[in-house]
């Protein structure tokens, strides 16, 4: 290290890397058939299409309320189910609670759930349950376990072993230790994380709705397929409102819970 490391000339050393990067980009766009004139044409076409979306067809608003409610209900059911099951996965996945074989299998299962996008989970579930809100709810619940289960397991592993020993030393059973030491320590953060997950689920359920899980996403997709663009605008605005409101509400609740005294 000397002063020349900080001189402006140091950028020139990266010239080769930049040249390679540019070459890769050009090659990739050629492979993907990126066409600049198509982009410009499509853009102007899209602009003229925009006129179809406005003004929104507000008469559709009242019909959209029920699908919007379905979206909320799907998430209201899916998130707590996911959170509850994630406690079991978390306990099984924590080094200080579960034996190594159980920890490994639970952690792997959680990782698979986390690795699969909700859409893939939904497509797999549709085979069993058919299209509709129930399959969507299940997909969101399973997706939630992927995230919450890992957070719970990590939170449990962070509990000081001496705290658990001190409860076991009065003659408590393993399950009593879980009930009176582990759960009180992890529940506040689990609830806070679940509220965040609820917000994520609202977003995801619009997408799942579009491929057939019902709710406001389904209405949005249907309106576009039927070329009723001004209707689609209303559905899009409602989805936006749902996402915005769930985010505000989640922030508020999470702040309240993390500063509250005790949950268990």
């Amino acid at each position: 290290m000397n002063w020349s490391d900080y001189s402006p000339r140091r950028y020139s050393r990266h010239a080769l890397s930049v040249a390679i990067l540019l070459a890769v980009i050009v090659a990739a766009s050629w492979l993907c058939e990126v066409n600049l004139s198509d982009l410009i044409k499509g853009f102007s076409k899209g602009l003229s299409m925009l006129g179809f979306f406005f003004p929104p067809d507000w008469s559709a608003f009242s019909e959209m309320l029920q699908p919007a409610l379905v979206t909320i209900v799907i998430c209201l059911v899916a998130t707590p189910i996911g959170a509850t099951v994630s406690i079991l996965f978390g306990l099984a996945g924590a080094r200080n609670i579960a034996p190594p074989w159980l920890r490994l299998s639970s952690r792997s299962l959680i990782a698979v759930e986390r690795g699969l996008p909700e859409i893939v989970i939904l497509l797999l579930l549709v085979a069993a349950f058919g299209l509709g809100p129930f399959a969507g709810m299940m997909a969101l619940a399973i997706g939630s376990i992927g995230m919450l289960g890992k957070l719970v397991a990590d939170a449990i592993e962070e509990i000081d072993a001496r705290v658990l020993d001190s409860v076991a030393a009065v003659g408590a059973t393993r399950w009593q230790v879980i009930r009176h030491a582990v759960l009180p320590e992890i529940l506040p953060s689990l609830v806070a994380n679940s509220i965040f997950r609820f917000e994520v689920n609202i977003r995801a359920s619009v997408l799942l709705g579009a491929i057939g899980a019902g709710g406001i996403g389904y209405e949005l997709n249907a309106a576009i397929n039927q070329l009723e663009y001004s209707r689609a605008t209303v559905a899009a605005l409602i989805s936006l409102l749902l996402v915005f409101l769930s985010e505000r509400g989640a922030d508020y609740l999470r702040a309240k819970i993390l500063t509250s005294r005790s949950l268990a």
Binding site: A168, G171, A172, A264
Partner: protein, 263 residues
């Protein structure tokens, strides 16, 4: 009351962590275990509650129903039965921080109530009232509804004592109850423990010979896993040097030994 016989714990390579430790603790006694860090004080305590296994020897005491417990050779349900007779006073920092003070005190009774009941229902009002009596005894009745994590070190240590009192044990094991406290707090904890020991004997590990001299009835000194002294708490500076090696004062106060439930 509590009989520790020939307790020996060896590592696979033959090195002895505990070497033939034997002593008795009788009613009315307040016994201090002294020794440098790593001497085996905490390990002895862990062995008594059955939190660590031993190679040889046994820990024997007679439960309230006249049943004889050997905590070194039992496990599962039997060990849990035995443990509810032992009031372990942990360092205050080992309480469940996100529970209220009262909830932490009531944990002391978990060994005596049915697991299903403690899961589904929790504690009864009568148990809560009794826990309040224990809290009152350590002067923290007003703190019952506070979140434990918001307490000071000295206050947490008192809660840990209240938990052990509420447990109504045959004897107490105190794991460095004043190690992390300032002199004033340490003094007031010793004043709490002294009368407690007259009801049920206390075996505690300490690092402050001057406190021990004033409050305890007897000293056990452990060095390299062996008992080298068992007798009056009035130790000469020569004896202290013997216990702690060369750096008497330094070892006595600065040593932060891994606690009873440490790794």
């Amino acid at each position: 009351m509590l009989d520790v016989r020939n307790l020996t714990k060896r590592l696979p390579d033959g090195h002895a962590l505990l070497n033939d430790i034997s002593f008795r603790v009788d009613k009315g006694e307040f016994v201090a275990v002294l020794g440098a860090s790593g001497a085996g004080k905490s390990l002895t305590m862990r062995a008594i509650v059955g939190l660590t296994s031993v190679t040889h020897g046994e820990v024997v005491f007679t439960g309230e129903t006249g049943k004889v417990y050997r905590t070194t050779s039992i496990g599962g349900k039997e060990l849990r039965r035995a443990r509810r007779n032992i009031g372990v006073i942990f360092q205050g920092c080992n309480l469940v921080k996100r529970l209220t003070v009262l909830d932490n005190v009531m944990i002391g009774r978990l060994g005596r109530i049915h697991p299903l009941r403690s899961w589904l229902y929790g504690f009864t009002d009568r148990e809560a009232a009794e826990a309040m009596v224990a809290l009152d005894r350590v002067g923290l009745a007003d703190f019952a509804a506070r979140l434990t994590g918001s307490l000071s070190g000295g206050e947490m240590q008192r809660v840990a004592i209240a938990r052990a009192i509420y447990q109504r044990p045959l004897f107490y094991l105190a794991d460095e109850p004043i190690a992390s406290l300032d002199p004033k707090n340490a003094e007031s904890i010793m004043r709490l423990l002294q009368p407690l020991a007259r009801e049920s004997p206390i075996l505690g590990t300490f690092h402050q010979p001057e406190m021990v001299m004033r409050y305890c009835t007897r000293v056990l000194a452990i060095k390299k896993g062996k008992i080298i002294y068992d007798g009056s708490p009035r130790l000469s500076s020569g004896q202290l040097a013997e216990i702690y090696g060369d750096e008497i004062g330094l070892a006595a106060t600065a040593a932060a030994e891994p606690s009873l439930v440490g790794s």
